[in-house]
């Protein structure tokens, strides 16, 4: 083929980024929301604690160390449960995507357990696994696994057949195709599954702690409820929100980094 001098470049579309304008609007929006909250409490529309009271309580609990202890307890459960769920979801998802027989055997179970809210498993888990960390970890594991396995298997199933054919005509064996085509091609789906899985794990841990725990942010809220301690409930809610947002951002960043090759529209 002869040398070609035509320069034809298609600049890829930039994805939404941290540009100062967007950040400014986000900050402004939050500030406005807190301002409204403050106005509502000052004007006496509600018995909610003011933002100032909540902040003071947050600092108190921070200095006291209790807040960190609760955050650690909740995070620990989420991360252990999520890690176990994700580690199992990937091979099971691949198995289901690659072998039809595995799909037809496993899929009904997954569909069945998916419609049961993980929290509904808690009574059973406590009776069979005891009252320590095990039932909570198990429920979170289940929540994370069910979300992640479905998208992993969707990812494998939807790998573009053209990629597989392209690899085959270059001489690739089934094993090579799996390792060098199917896995990278389904990575974006797996990471989306992780994101959903982590989200549902986080939702589950807080709820599980409300029902059955001696530590954690959910437990703290439940305790505060008994004493009508509204500021502490708010502190826990804010902490849950911030931690959830942080975890989500980390997964999104990882995803962007690992799938930067993807065409995005």
């Amino acid at each position: 083929m002869s040398l070609i001098s035509d320069v034809e470049t298609a600049e890829p579309k930039r994805r939404w980024r941290w540009d100062p304008g967007n950040v400014a609007w986000g900050v402004l929006s939050f500030a406005g929301g807190i301002g409204l909250w403050w106005l509502a409490t000052v004007a006496g529309f509600s018995e909610l604690p003011s933002p100032w009271t909540v902040l003071t309580r947050m600092i108190e609990l921070g200095i006291d160390g209790q807040l960190w202890g609760d955050m650690y307890a909740s995070l620990r459960r989420v991360l252990i449960g999520f890690a176990l769920g994700a580690v199992l979801a990937v091979p099971v998802g691949f198995l289901m995507g690659w072998y039809r027989i595995a799909r037809v055997i496993i899929d009904p179970w997954i569909q069945f357990f998916r419609v049961i809210p993980p929290l509904a498993i808690i009574p059973l888990a406590i009776v069979t696994l005891g009252i320590d960390e095990k039932p909570k970890t198990f429920v979170i594991f289940l929540a994370a696994f069910l979300s992640a396995v479905v998208s992993t298997y969707q990812g494998v199933v939807s790998v573009d057949k053209t990629y597989i054919n392209a690899a085959r005509v270059l001489g690739a064996s089934d094993g090579t195709i799996f390792a060098r085509v199917v896995i990278p091609a389904s990575t974006p789906f797996i990471l989306v599954g992780f994101r959903i899985g982590l989200g549902s794990a986080w939702a589950t841990v807080v709820a599980a702690e409300l029902i059955a725990a001696q530590s954690g942010l959910g437990f703290r809220m439940q305790q505060a409820q008994l004493y009508y301690d509204l500021p502490t409930i708010f502190v826990s809610l804010v902490a849950i929100g911030i931690l959830g947002l942080l975890m989500d951002r980390i997964v999104v960043r990882t995803e962007e980094r690992m799938t930067h090759w993807q065409e995005r529209v």
Partner: protein, 258 residues
């Protein structure tokens, strides 16, 4: 004719079974000589892509014989390079890594792989884009990368499935010229599928016209225009005359049926 490079002997292909069975190709017999560049045209549903995929080993045939170098095709292999319409570049690999993919499968070392990849990228004018990801390339550049990837493993046959179909007219003409340029140097056997009659005539030494429903051989038209062919050839009355013959062969049946 000496031993053909590619041979179809009474080949049929039926998709599905029972009442849903659909005959994509019926009783196709066709030979392509070593070093020949043949285009296959026909209306949609004539089985032209199916025929090519059977040579590639991606689709099994139902009856008859599909031979490459006198040996029956039993599956895909690097001796038959395939270029797809949708480029089929691996988006998670850089341009260079895409070209190296087949070389790695052949067990070549890092240094050698890189050298070969850069050589073929140079031939298609993509050496400056070796470390780019496919998403940053235009359609024409993607297809050039795919062509480099196919050439890099040094196949003895090139199978091209409407490779320039998704490109704009100008890029298409450029790539047609480059394909002929390369072919005139290495005389590698090419089986080129297209639905564009002008493209079919400009490239080929023989145009195979298939008819649809079921796919079968309609006519083989010799293109006795000398190589190298330049833009003047496209405008010559001889080209127009052959082009019109191919056009009539492709559309005659559809016109009758309508």
């Amino acid at each position: 004719m000496a031993d053909p490079k590619i041979a179809f002997r009474n080949v049929s292909k039926v998709f599905g079974t029972g009442a849903d069975a659909f005959t994509a190709i019926r009783d196709l017999t066709l030979e392509i000589a070593d070093g020949e560049i043949v285009t296959v045209v026909g209306p949609s549903g004539c089985g032209k892509s199916t025929a090519m995929n059977m040579v590639a080993g991606l689709i099994p045939h139902s009856s008859g014989e599909v031979l490459v170098d006198g040996r029956p095709v039993s599956g895909p292999g690097p001796d038959r390079g395939v270029i797809f319409q949708q480029y089929a570049l691996f988006p998670w690999l850089t341009v260079r890594e895409n070209v190296e993919f087949g070389l790695k499968l052949q067990g070549l070392g890092r240094q050698e792989r890189r050298k070969r990849a850069m050589h073929y990228l140079g031939l298609v004018g993509l050496q400056d884009f070796a470390e780019s990801y496919p998403k940053t390339l235009s359609g024409g550049m993607k297809q050039r990368c795919a062509i480099a990837r196919a050439y890099a493993v040094n196949p003895s046959v090139l199978l091209m499935d409407e490779p320039f179909g998704a490109l704009d007219a100008l890029t298409r003409v450029t790539l047609q010229n480059q394909l002929l340029d390369t072919w005139s140097k290495d005389r590698r056997t090419v089986m080129f599928i297209t639905h564009d009659v002008d493209e079919a005539v400009f490239i080929a030494s023989r145009v195979v016209v298939l008819a649809a429903r079921p796919g079968r051989l309609q006519e083989i038209i010799e293109v006795d225009l000398p190589y190298p062919r330049d833009e003047e050839v496209r405008l010559s009355p001889e080209f127009m005359e052959i082009r019109n013959r191919v056009w009539r062969a492709v559309y005659r049946r559809d016109a009758q049926a309508a």
